[in-house]
Structures are given as structure tokens and as C-alpha cells.
Symmetry: C3
Subunit: 253 residues, 3 copies
């Protein structure tokens, strides 16, 4: 199984699929190709949340503002999964979660004579992902153009953590999802036992479900990833709360 | 075969696919994940039109404004297909059409300790759909957490029917498709033998093909679902006719 | 393997997939379903660039402003690939490239009693593509409703070629991709050895990678298809250059 994620829109992902299918008969599953353009942090968040739902697989990830520069191309073994993508941090949060108690084992991909400097998804990452799929995640050392590298040398990316206090938390909006839910980094248990909470100074009801408030009304809930979300029942939380990715959020119970 | 339909955008459908693929090696086919948000009627229409094109399959449908409330989760056997989704009516028009002369046989899914109250697509419906696929549509009674229920107790949803008169019809716009075609519920044979028709008081040519009028011109035609559509050749009918889903349409021949 | 490309958005491609899967267990791969609406030239460009990445396959292409008129439905053998779609030129550039030194061999599809005049994707092209897949690209003559036709009688479409001069080139924008890169028809080697180039009179740096200029800055580069692109690092080139598909571009070195 080989999943694909990018910020490419269409039809560039199809070019990657063609390249893969010339080398492999892997089952292909799209994660998303409309990640916020060149937003490494948003992609890193979504991959960390979504990829662990999959059975063991090779995950091709191309959100790569530095394409064509000397940033490395990586294959990262994480438990019985492998991630393939650029060394810009986008793979790290997902790799840590997929690896669990195992170490994350990164390899640098040797890039020979790339056909382009602007589409490494097609010319570097897709062939590498296909080869990893065919060779097997357990046998990365057998792939000639992969060289193990120490984790310490890689670009790290850690999603910011909220500061939980006695009466609430201070965090930020990590992403806004396609429903308009503003997903924060505040752990959901901050809402335990509360019926309302102040969000940046405004009192908002805490609900277990969207439908706990009337359509069009705001609420704060615990999203499917376990974090506090600022939502609107049948509407967009980002608009109603005036929040976008990266904005600070202070919750006071 | 297992189809997926939702109003999720991305990447939530990928989380459902991961959950399914841990339980099943079903072939997955996306129907759409950009149904109008939380619009149960629009989804019900499209599913009724599209799902009968498929060979026998399990159809996972998550358009679910009541997620986390006490609305039931359903598996519905309809002929040699099964539909899996919330009890809000979204499955009913497709189920009736897929069942044909057979009865529709619904089952309630017992929900044990859901991981979230906001993402039953991942935590309830996807596992149920995978289990139905693995067990087989003929053997739903063998799935422990499914309990047969009488059809009468379920939320019904019937798409409104047009009133056909001697000189035309009164109906409404069911959906606007991605081309901007305003699809009404008026049966196509109302246009038989007519060269023009009045649409809400304005005279418009009847055409068999979009190209029967000049680019940018309005026409009324019979769409692929057999209903009257208000269209523009190489343009958007909804804009040109000032119509959106739910609007009344009166045709006078 | 069977790829699908259209300007349909959703959910009409799913109806085509259902029709195909009732006739074939082909692996289905989406190329794109959001090609610019009814823009035959843009689709022709993308297909020419993307389809050659695939292993031998049947390629279903439905960008068809003339649906329901007397334009023919075609199956075109091109090397070990086959293309299926309307005779409006959309298949030609890809067919020429896939055929390489082999001749392109077109067949007209006999259309029996179509169910609709507005959705030949579902009613004509999808069944034809499934049949071609099942019968095999080498055996098109064995399909009863296919009749060989001379290539000369078909609608041709040739993407315009740039005029390369001693000190630059005159061409046009072929497409704008989802990143906003304005892809011209000027061969990339026009930029060889240049550090800057005048684009329609304004001096712009030539870069090998997007990151060769600061974020938000314009550059001219060679895109993954080998043509000159007008781009912005981490931004949209079409907006910054004031260019859209079809616009003239003059490069002076």
C-alpha cells in the first residue's frame, strides 16, 4: 500500500502515479492533494493525525517549497511504515507517531541526474517510494541509493504545544479544516466539566456535539484528533471566531 | 467493492480509508467528498442517481449534521447492495432505487464506546462498512452488532415530485451540478414536442444538446438523470436563470 | 489499467466508474476531473504531459463541449496505449506523443441508442473504454462497434509552437497550473546561459529553482514539462505577471 499526499492540486499527482505504476503494482490511496500550498506545518499536522489510521504502508509526501535546492530527499522508516519526502520537517511529526516506541530511521536518497529542478515529486520522490514499496520497509538497507543518516542532522519540526494552566490554556490554531473548524493545539481535557469557556475573552458554550447548539451558533468542542476546536453548528468556526491558522487562542474556564 | 461519499473535503476521507483498509482489502471508489456541506437532500439525490451505476457494492455515506447525537447509525440492505450511514434520510432514495422490487432491510449499528463525538465516519461508519464488506451483503444477520429494525421507524426523505399539468409543470430545483446546470424535478417528457418553453415566465429554447444554442445562450434540456435542466451552452445555467437548489420552477409550454 | 480525465468535477466521474466496473475489473486511476471547463486545448496539453508517465493503459478522456451533436466518439490506438474520447482534438497531442514513431490508429465508436444526449461520458465513452480494456489494445479490430477510420478525417489540434529568435522567443501561455505558474510554449533552452530575461518588457531573474529568489518574488524558470514558466516563489505567477492562458509572451534575453 502506498499513500500520496501533496499540495499539488491536479494533475501533477497523476504524473507521480504513472511513475509509480511503471515500477510497482502497489495499491495507491490519496491522502490529500490540496494541503495549504507550501505550508509544511499544516501538512505535518494532518499527516500525523491521518497516517496512523492506515495499516503498514509507504507514505509519499510532497509539500516542498525548497524543491530543487540542496535540501535532502528522505526515506524514513517509522515502525512498519515508511515515509518518503523532503527534509523540511514535514515527515517528522507523523514519523514520531508512527514509530511509537521504536526509533525513527532516516535514509538520504541519492539523486541522480534529475529530469527537472521543479518537480521532484515525479522525478525523485515517486520513484523512491515505488522502490521502497517493492523492496519492503524491512529492507531499506538493500536499496542502493539510500544511505542511513543520523536523525540529529535532519530538519526538525515540532507542532507547538499549548500551555495548560489551572483555569484554562494558552495555545494557537494549528489548522482550519474544510468545514471551517479552527483546530487548536489545546488538549481536549481542558474542557472537562465545563459548560462554557472564554475564548479570547468571549464566553462560548462547550458542547459534546455540533448539534448541542442551534444551527449557526458557536461552540467549543473536542475534535476527532482530541484537541479543542472552535466551531459553528452547520457553519464555519473560523469566520465566526475570526480565527485562522497560527492565531493565538486563550481559553479561560 | 466499497464506495465512499461524504461532505468532508480532505483529508478526513483518507482517515476513513485507513480504518477500512486495516479491516478489509476492498476495492475503494470515491463517489464524491464535496457534497454540499451537511445538505442531506442534495446528497440523497446524487446517491440515488449515481449508485445504481455500480455493480453490487457496499456504499459508505457520511453526510451527517447530527453526528454524535442519538440518531442511529444504519446499515441498509437494498437488493445486492448495502448502504452504511446515519439515519437522517440520506440513504433512503438510493436504497429504494437499488432495492427495486425487493424490500429495503435496515439494521441499526450498535455503537460501542466511540472514540469521538464528531467523527463517526472514522469511528463508527467506516468500521461498519468494512465489516459488511468482509461478511457479505447476504450475511448481515451474522454481524453481531447489527440489529434488524422496521423500516417504518427510520427517518424518511423523499425528494419532492413536480406537479405535471396539461401545459407544463410546477417543480423545483433539486441540485445545481458542477457545470452550473440547474437540475429540476420535472420529468423530461414534459418537453416532448416543444421547441420553446416558458421558465418562470421567460421563453427559452428547448434543445436536445447544449450545442443546439450558441455559446453563452440559455436552453432547457433533459439531463442525464431524465429531468429537465436549466442550462447555458458553455456557461452556468444557475447564474443565467437566477436559480439555486430549492427554488421553484414553473414551466409553461 | 484505465485512467480517467474530465472537466466534470463530481459526482459524474463516479457514474462513469460504476459503468466501467460493471464491465471490467480494471485498475482505475484519476488523472484530473477539474480540467478548465470545456477547454479542449488545456486538457490536450495536460494529457500530452501526464499520460506518457503511465505504463500501457486505456485513457478515458471526456472534455466534450459538443456532447450529443454528431461529432464522433473515438478510440485511438497510440503505441501500447489507447485513448477514448470525443473527436474534438483533445486526444491528438497525447496520442502523437504516446505513439512515438508508430502510427496513430483511430477507430470510430458506433453509438447505439444512447440513454442521454448530455452524458456520453457515462453512456458512450465509459462502456467503450471498459470494452477496450477487456479486449486489449492489441485487439481493437475484434470489437464489433469499432470501425477504423483514416487519421486525416479527424479533428486535429496542435498546441501552438513558440517562435524562437536569436535573442529570445515569442510564444504564449498554454495553461496556468494550480500553483499559479504560467506555463508557456517557449522551449526551456531559450533560457540557457541567461541570468535575466525580459518578459513582455519587464526584466525578471532566471532561476533554476523557485527558491532562487526571495518568497513573493517573480522568476522565470524551466518547468517540469521543459517549457519556460513565469512563476513566483511561494506565490502565484499568473497574478504577478498579469498572465492567463492564451496570452502572448515575448522573451528577450
Amino acid at each position: 500500500m502506498l499513500t500520496l499526499a501533496s499540495d499539488f492540486g491536479t494533475p501533477y499527482p497523476a504524473a507521480m502515479k504513472g511513475v509509480i505504476l511503471r515500477r510497482s503494482d502497489a495499491r495507491l490511496v490519496d491522502v490529500a492533494h490540496d494541503f495549504p500550498r507550501q505550508d509544511v506545518r499544516a501538512a505535518a499536522f494532518w499527516l500525523r493525525e491521518v497516517l496512523p489510521e492506515f495499516p503498514p504502508a509507504v507514505h509519499l509526501v510532497v509539500v516542498d517549497p525548497g524543491v530543487g535546492t540542496d535540501r535532502d530527499a528522505l526515506v524514513v522508516r517509522a515502525g512498519d511504515h515508511a515515509l518518503v519526502g523532503p527534509d523540511n520537517g514535514v515527515l517528522r511529526p507523523a514519523a514520531r507517531r508512527l514509530a511509537g516506541d521504536d526509533p525513527v530511521e532516516p535514509f538520504v536518497v541519492r539523486v541522480d541526474d534529475p529530469a527537472s529542478t521543479t518537480f521532484h515529486g515525479r522525478d525523485v520522490f515517486a520513484p523512491a517510494a515505488a522502490d521502497v514499496h517493492e523492496t519492503g520497509v524491512d529492507s531499506l538497507d538493500a536499496i542502493d541509493r539510500l544511505s542511513p543518516v543520523p536523525t540529529e542532522g535532519l530538519v526538525d519540526l515540532r507542532l507547538p504545544e499549548a500551555r495548560v494552566t489551572e483555569d484554562g490554556a494558552t495555545g494557537e490554531v494549528l489548522v482550519v479544516d474544510d468545514f471551517g473548524n479552527a483546530v487548536t493545539n489545546v488538549p481536549g481535557d481542558v474542557l472537562d466539566g465545563r459548560e462554557t469557556v472564554e475564548v479570547n475573552g468571549e464566553c462560548v458554550p462547550v458542547g459534546e456535539t455540533f448539534a448541542s447548539v442551534a444551527p449557526g451558533e458557536r461552540l467549543v468542542t473536542v475534535g476527532s484528533h482530541g484537541y479543542v476546536e472552535c466551531d459553528v453548528n452547520r457553519g464555519r468556526g473560523d469566520d465566526a471566531f475570526g480565527l485562522e491558522a497560527g492565531d493565538d487562542v486563550t481559553l479561560v474556564g
